[in-house]
């Protein structure tokens, strides 16, 4: 997923160099200097991750049904992890000295659930105005805002997503009121005192964009552009045109030196997208609008990594496949707004059947606790309609597929040796409504155990309140 974007970005950069090659050369010779180097004109990571994996015992789970997250399944298999990393996945593995062995008979082992669309922390519980920090609704174009600056790490929702949902990684996005909503942040689902302490090391940023009803309603309601879908695209294009120019000036400065152009934090984000460093995560419901956005992306030389919600993705599954753009969808939400009117529960199945990249998402503090059940529903709907997909294949919808769309598939999202030991042991088949997480490890550290009340996270907010430390 990440690679083609980089290639595209490089090609674009070369093209723009070639376009004004003579000019640039003469400017350069006049200045007689070189720039700081590509990407070195300003800091790209000013709020770096301070996440550190917690210590974990070397652990071997045996006799367990395994979905590896990439479509593979092993019955009565074994998984060994140590020092935070998956070591081996096989039918049988010898327990070495000092290894904690867990008998997984009757249980299932999977990679941790990844939710590509969450607002935990920026729309936390309690849902009071004072903590509602997900939409900067003062302008339709706010690529300069970063969701991570809104994330409240004490949201009780993180703990629920871990204990009830087996969620180990999530992307927190700005809301969808804006055409350009700002940067997303990907976090490990591990409580920390600071946002930086949760931040997924090395995960690329996302840019939240939005089509359709929300931007035109919010800004049209304020008597300003956009108030229509055509207004949405006009403002989008005007903004991308500025971004292309901004990128050209900064590329030139970084390559050739001279006077640095004025910094524009909004344009920094868009330049990052044009360079393939930031992935576009685009809220969009209707098929026809997604098609327009795909053309707009080609016009300005960026890539849409994933459409989110995408309730009509099934209508253009072939187009999404051809553009190598993913769809992150619900199992069965529908009808709450006009652009959600044509939802069908077979959306995921049709995308999969047509070979498009598809995944589940929650966008909801309750739904994130049951993404395994959402995948089970989507799979069942597909099977009923005649498209059979195995449980192991369907598990990709909440494992490797979202990992790819987040640009972290080399680090997590499946039980492959060397990857982060983000692992869930389920007390039964996770496609059943009767199943719950039994143990959840993040980077090999056991952070939830259904049998150990001490391993139930309790956020600061819940401390000393009614229900503190309860099963939730």
């Amino acid at each position: 997923m990440f690679r083609p974007i980089l290639v595209l970005g490089t090609a674009l950069a070369l093209a723009s160099c070639a376009g004004d090659g003579n000019h640039a050369q003469s400017a350069s010779s006049e200045a007689g200097s070189t720039g700081p180097g590509r990407g070195k004109g300003y800091a790209h990571d000013p709020f770096p991750s301070t996440y550190r994996a917690y210590p974990g015992a070397p652990t071997l789970v045996t006799n367990v049904t395994i979905f590896d997250g990439e479509g593979g399944r092993i019955d009565n298999g074994s998984v060994l992890f140590r020092d935070g990393k998956i070591v081996e996945i096989a039918q049988t593995i010898e327990a070495g000295a000092g290894v904690t062995v867990i008998d997984g008979r009757g249980k299932y082992l999977t990679p941790g659930v990844i939710d590509i669309h969450s607002h935990l922390g920026d729309y936390p519980s309690p849902g009071v105005e004072a903590l509602s920090d997900g939409n900067e609704i003062t302008s339709p174009v706010t690529p300069e805002v970063w969701a991570e600056h809104s994330v409240w790490p004490q949201d009780p929702g993180f703990g629920r997503a871990l204990a009830n949902g087996g969620v180990t990684t999530l992307q927190i996005l700005p809301g969808s009121a804006n055409l350009f909503g700002g940067r997303s942040v990907t976090v490990k689902n591990v409580y920390a005192r600071t946002m930086q302490g949760m931040k997924f090391p090395g995960a690329p940023y996302g840019l939240k964009m939005a089509c359709g009803e929300n931007p035109k309603r919010v800004y049209g309601g304020k008597g300003r552009a956009p108030s229509t879908r055509m207004g949405n695209i006009a403002v989008d294009r005007a903004t991308w045109a500025k971004a292309v120019e901004y990128k050209r000036r900064w590329d030139k400065y970084e390559d050739k030196g001279g006077e640095p152009p004025a910094r524009d934090l909004a344009m920094d984000t868009l330049r990052g997208v044009l360079d393939g460093e930031i992935l576009v995560q685009n809220h969009c419901y209707r098929a026809d609008e997604m098609a327009v956005v795909l053309d707009m992306a080609k016009e300005f030389g960026y890539k849409v990594t994933a459409f989110h919600h995408a309730v009509e993705a099934y209508k253009i599954a072939d187009l999404l496949k051809a553009n190598n753009t993913c769809a992150a969808v619900w199992a069965d939400w529908y009808g709450f707004k006009m652009e959600a009117y044509d939802a069908v529960p077979e959306n995921l199945a049709i995308l999969e059947k047509e070979g498009a990249c598809a995944m589940i998402h929650s966008d909801d503090q309750n739904g994130i606790q049951r993404l395994n059940q959402e995948v089970a529903k989507a799979r069942a709907s597909g099977r009923k309609a005649g498209f059979d997909i195995s449980e192991a294949q369907a598990w990709r919808w909440l494992a490797i597929n979202p990992a790819k769309a987040l640009g972290i598939a080399d680090k997590t999202g499946s039980l492959k040796p060397g990857k982060m030991a983000d692992v869930v042991l389920w007390n039964g088949n996770p496609f059943s409504v009767y199943t719950r997480p039994q143990m959840v490890w993040v980077d090999g550290a056991l952070l939830y155990d259904a049998n150990n009340p001490k391993l139930r996270p309790v956020s600061d907010f819940e401390l000393g309140q009614p229900g503190e430390g309860d099963v939730k």
């Binding site: 009780p156 599954a317 069965d332 009808g335 259904a450 309140q465 939730k472």
Partner: protein, 436 residues
């Protein structure tokens, strides 16, 4: 254009209208009565004149009936959705299709959802084909009053007669929403309730001389009239309340109005005062899986709420207030299944399978005082019967046949039509618009 499409769609549906009620015998069934017991293998269900005649093992099949061999499949009462806004909303965000609340109306308690229920609204078909056959439909309140109006019990049948019982209850907000509506505090909500009480008693004493102060009144004549059966205990008062202490406040209303038939809705912190609720004999339509402190009145939220209330002796069914209740009553099956799952979780309180199923069938009907009519396969209940291809609480199980009042229902919706049209997404010889 739009008008033409609508016309042709309704013409099509008229052709597909279901047959009249007939005598139906379902044999070889895994029967669930819905009363809290588990399934019985090899059972028979008899439906005649739209009602259940008999269900269970050793039931004789009458002659001359349509016989359906269930082939060992599950046969249960249809889902009785405990608290919804189905049938009064097509698209929430499209104002003209949303009849839940009426912020500019001078009326509050008098508002009656029954005339607004649209049997052709798409959520009804979508939920029907997932086995939901009845629903409690409540209005929503607006700023200015804690009273939302009179709700109905509807069936989801594919006919033009959806309202099974109009004016079946009055719905009221307390807690944060009630405080907001009443002017800014719980004290204001409480005062508004007591004021209504005085006004209604005035009205009862002398309806003719009751001064209708029109728009300036907190309660118009029509509102006062609508609250008479509530005060007299002939119609239940459903109260949305979440916080433990607020629940006690609401229970105490019965001291002031002994005849009041209360039903609590939501009740996230119900478990913290479960014994009081049980002692008051007040039933609950609870949100099943609310486990987050989404507000300060839900701090003690836990999925064990229903299990703990049940264990304390509270009559509790599942409702779905503020949970996409205009369209997702079908999720109640999944909610109930999750409550069963809690049984395997150390420290949690769930429900047995039979009780979980009752929580979405007979218990909510009983909570509404309608257990003799709906929600189970006991003799005399409405013939709302579903044949499933598997455990109805398990994800992936589907309703195969749905009967409402003994009438077999169509199993299509806008969604199945869209799915069929786009199962192969690419256009064929003609545009998709010609594929129907």
């Amino acid at each position: 254009m739009i008008r033409n499409l609508l016309l042709s769609a309704s013409a099509m549906l008229a052709i597909a209208a279901p047959a009249a009620a007939q005598t139906v015998v379902i044999t070889n069934a895994k029967v669930v009565i819905g009363d809290g017991a588990g399934p019985v293998e090899g059972g028979t269900v008899v439906i005649r004149d739209g009602r259940v005649v008999a269900a269970g093992a050793g039931v004789a099949a009458p002659a001359g009936a349509r016989v359906i061999d269930a082939g060992g499949r599950w046969v249960t009462p249809g889902i009785f959705a405990g608290f919804t806004r189905m049938g009064i909303v097509e698209v929430d965000a499209v104002e003209g299709t949303n009849d839940t609340a009426a912020g500019s109306s001078p009326f509050n308690a008098a508002l009656d959802v029954a005339p607004a229920v649209n049997p052709k609204s798409s959520p009804l078909a979508i939920n029907r084909l997932e086995g939901v056959t009845r629903a409690v439909v409540a209005p929503d309140n607006s700023r200015g009053s804690i009273f939302a109006g009179q709700g109905a019990v509807i069936d989801l049948g594919a006919d033009m007669d959806p309202v099974a019982k109009p004016r079946a209850f009055q719905f009221m907000e307390y807690g944060e929403a009630g405080a907001r509506a009443a002017g800014g505090s719980r004290a204001a909500a409480y005062a508004m309730f007591r004021n209504a009480l005085f006004e209604v008693r005035d009205y009862i004493r002398s309806p003719a001389s009751f001064a209708d102060r029109g728009k300036d009144a907190l309660l118009t004549r029509a509102d006062a009239e609508a609250l008479v059966p509530v005060v007299q205990g002939r119609v239940p008062l459903l109260v949305h309340v979440e916080r433990g202490s607020d629940i006690l406040t609401v229970l105490a209303l019965k001291k002031e109005v002994p005849a009041l038939k209360l039903v609590l809705v939501g009740a996230t912190e119900g478990w913290t005062v479960a014994r009081d609720i049980a002692a008051a004999g007040v039933p609950v339509l609870a949100s099943a899986l609310a486990d987050l402190p989404e507000s300060f009145e839900q701090l003690a939220a836990t999925q064990s709420n229903i299990g703990r209330m049940k264990a304390a002796g509270v009559l509790v069914g599942i409702g779905t207030i503020n949970q996409d209740e205009a369209r997702q009553a079908r999720w109640e099956k999944q909610y109930a299944g999750n409550l069963v799952a809690l049984g395997k979780l150390p420290g949690a309180s769930g429900l047995s399978w039979g009780e979980a199923f009752a929580a979405i069938t007979s218990r909510p009907a009983e909570a509404m005082g309608m257990g003799a009519e709906f929600g189970s396969l006991k003799p005399g209940r409405h013939g709302d019967v579903v044949i499933w291809d598997g455990d109805p609480l398990e994800i992936g199980s589907s309703a195969v046949n749905v009967f409402i009042d003994g009438v077999e229902q169509p199993m299509t919706s806008r969604q199945t039509r869209l799915r069929d049209r786009y199962w192969e997404p690419k256009e064929g010889a003609l545009p998709k618009a010609y594929q129907h």
